[in-house]
């Protein structure tokens, strides 16, 4: 967390990367940080603005092919996200945003270079992955089961430097076996729902990474009921 006492959440390019309720991830982190007593500053950065480098948590959403390619191009030229991550900032990316953190991705039938923040490559799958997803989170992260809704045409192949976020029991995720990826404090997933509304513990993990403080328990009655319902709906044991 930056030297000032304020937690800075940077939402990257909502004009290009914001679909399927992605703003929800920002709202969830903001609320959960505020309930723990953090003063929170949310900074929305448009694609024609330069990225602030003093952020604590950077969020990337999903988007169509054209905006995804444009966002990757602008972020590469900007360089700010890369410098922030090297400094130790947290990055959380969803869907198109997740793909562009890797080495390369496919959009509009062509391959585009990504940001090289995660060791992974994405290409097109044989069919669109649409529906509920559930899985066991990588034990190293110490989180309860993952739940969410996926809607993407991509398949993602992890290199040795990236850890899968979860082993899936329902859905397609990266490749039909695992879903999402993380390394250091950079974490990506295909999940909407939004992901942090369906997985509050994941939101708290990002807060822990950003602040160094284990978040105190809060009343999660409604999110827990939602999780139980969604996991039961896909027969998660």
């Amino acid at each position: 967390m930056s030297t000032e006492s304020r937690l800075r959440i940077v939402w990257i390019y909502p004009d290009l990367l914001s679909t399927y309720g992605d703003r929800g991830n920002l709202l969830i982190i903001e609320r959960r940080a505020a309930l723990r007593g953090f003063a929170v500053e949310c900074i929305e950065v448009r694609s024609d603005q330069s990225l602030p480098e003093h952020g604590d948590i950077y969020l990337l959403g999903g988007g169509e092919d054209g905006p995804q390619a444009l966002a990757a191009q602008r972020l590469r030229a900007d360089g700010g996200l890369h410098r922030a991550v090297v400094r130790g900032a947290v990055a959380f990316a969803v869907c198109a945003g997740y793909q562009l953190l890797g080495e390369s991705f496919f959009a509009k039938g062509a391959q585009y270079p990504g940001l090289h923040l995660l060791d992974l490559k994405s290409d097109r799958g044989p069919s669109r992955a649409v529906g509920e997803l559930a899985g066991e989170v990588n034990p190293a992260l110490g989180l309860p089961p993952l739940t969410g809704f996926e809607n993407h045409g991509g398949r993602t192949h992890l290199g040795p430097e990236a850890h899968p976020l979860a082993e899936i029991t329902t859905g397609i995720g990266n490749n039909g076996t695992d879903e999402g990826a993380w390394r250091g404090r950079v974490l990506g997933t295909y999940l909407h729902g939004p992901a942090l509304a369906r997985n509050p513990a994941l939101s708290d993990l990002l807060l822990l990474w950003a602040t160094g403080v284990t978040p105190t328990p809060i009343n999660d009655t409604w999110p827990e009921r939602l999780r139980r319902e969604r996991l039961a709906a896909v027969g998660f044991r």
């Binding site: 290009l16 914001s18 309720g21 929800g24 709202l27 169509e64 809607n151 909407h192």
Partner: protein
């Protein structure tokens, strides 16, 4: 073409289509507005084109307001003669064939068209006028993205220069799609939801807005000068004359729908002065906007199928106890993420109840949005929980149908 002039195969198809629709209604399996057309189109693939031939047709499409605007346009055009219409919202080719077959010979037809089918239906029915209302995100797990939809429309319109377009000048995506037309009537129909039109569909630059005006930062796309506009309690017609509009339907969005309906009707020669009073004939549409009195509560039903529709519903809803019901069955779209695209804060300060298959998704959303609520597991429980008086119900598609069923399928 009149029924007498139909090719033999079409006559047979029409007759069987009507019988199937009647059977479906008699069997209580639905209103028969799809099955009849489906059977007819199997027997005669050209049935829709044959049934449309010889009629003066208006098509109406867009993400929201199609059914209402179709009703209003039909009412406005009824002063000219008999009008065939698919008034129950069956807006794909089977529904169009059913509606035309059922109506028999009419001079006019007003057809609501699902946005994805505009090209197919336009080609088959050769309309004189096409009304384009708005484009926004809707059932994203299934529907085409907004930019792709606009592109599809644009290509369709460019390929049919003979068709006159009536289009919403306040929606950049609709404007861009309609801009390839040879002749357009622009209606300032409003756009409460901006979040699908910040990026120019022509050049990818940012769309800027200042009051009613909008323009692209990177190219010449900008808001056309509208011929029709909405004013408080009425509309302003192309001569600049203010016209008082008395509607039974709530909200500014329905005044805008009325302006579009009048703009379309006048293209067919309907005098505004005679068309105007007919708009008040439209009360509720398949339960939408209907009010039902039950146990001393006046229940009003509002349908909201997507983020833009929810914003419009909040604009219409009175300051009264409000039930929100959300499902995510096939017709609704399976993904509830859109709940985070809607700002529910206008509901703060009133009693909010939630129900439906996906009430838990809504619960988490409202908690984050700072809107206190109570969860109820049935419509009856909701009714018992609110005091006598006005009671607003806002629901998405199948949730709305569930509640309508509780109220004896109110129309």
């Amino acid at each position: 073409m009149t029924a007498k002039g139909l090719p033999l195969r079409s006559k047979l198809a029409t007759s069987l289509s009507r019988s199937a629709a009647a059977l479906s209604r008699a069997a209580g399996r639905g209103d028969g507005s799809v099955i009849g057309g489906r059977i007819g189109l199997i027997i005669d693939p050209e049935l829709l084109a044959n049934l449309a031939a010889g009629r003066d047709i208006a098509l109406i499409s867009g993400t929201n307001g199609k059914t209402t605007t179709t009703r209003l346009t039909t009412a406005a055009m009824s002063i000219l003669g008999r009008v065939a219409t698919n008034g129950l919202g069956a807006n794909m080719p089977t529904g169009h064939a059913s509606a035309l077959a059922k109506a028999g010979t009419t001079r006019y037809a007003v057809l609501e068209v699902d946005e994805h089918y505009l090209d197919q239906v336009l080609t088959a029915t050769r309309p004189r006028v096409v009304g384009l209302l708005n484009l926004s995100r809707d059932q994203l797990d299934r529907a085409k993205e907004v930019a792709m939809m606009a592109d599809l429309w644009r290509t369709t319109i460019e390929a049919h220069p003979e068709v006159h377009i009536v289009a919403n000048a306040d929606d950049p995506m609709v404007t861009w799609a309609a801009a390839t037309a040879k002749s357009v009537t622009w209606v300032a129909a409003g756009q409460r939801w901006h979040d699908d039109s910040w990026v120019c569909p022509e050049c990818g630059a940012r769309i800027e807005r200042d009051g009613d005006r909008w323009w692209c930062n990177g190219c010449s796309l900008s808001r056309p000068t509208p011929q029709w506009a909405v004013a408080s309690g009425g509309v302003i017609d192309p001569s600049g004359t203010y016209r008082d509009v008395r509607l039974q339907l709530p909200g500014r969005v329905n005044l805008a729908n009325a302006a579009t309906a009048l703009a379309i009707a006048t293209c067919f020669g309907a005098p505004i002065i005679h068309a105007l009073p007919r708009l008040a004939d439209v009360t509720s549409i398949a339960g939408r906007y209907a009010t039902v009195v039950r146990d001393e509560r006046t229940i009003r039903l509002l349908l909201a199928k997507n983020p833009a529709g929810w914003l419009e519903a909040f604009d219409m809803a009175e300051q009264a106890p409000t039930l929100l019901s959300i499902n995510a069955r096939d017709p609704d779209g399976l993904d509830t993420s859109w709940l985070y695209d809607v700002d529910f804060s206008p509901l703060r300060g009133r009693r909010v109840l939630i129900t439906g298959d996906r009430a838990m998704d809504l619960a988490v959303r409202l908690e984050v949005n700072g809107v206190p609520f109570d969860h109820v597991t049935s419509f009856g429980q909701a009714l018992a929980a609110v005091p006598p008086g006005w009671f607003e119900v806002i629901a998405n598609y199948t949730a709305f149908q569930d509640i309508r069923a509780e109220l004896d399928r109110v129309n």
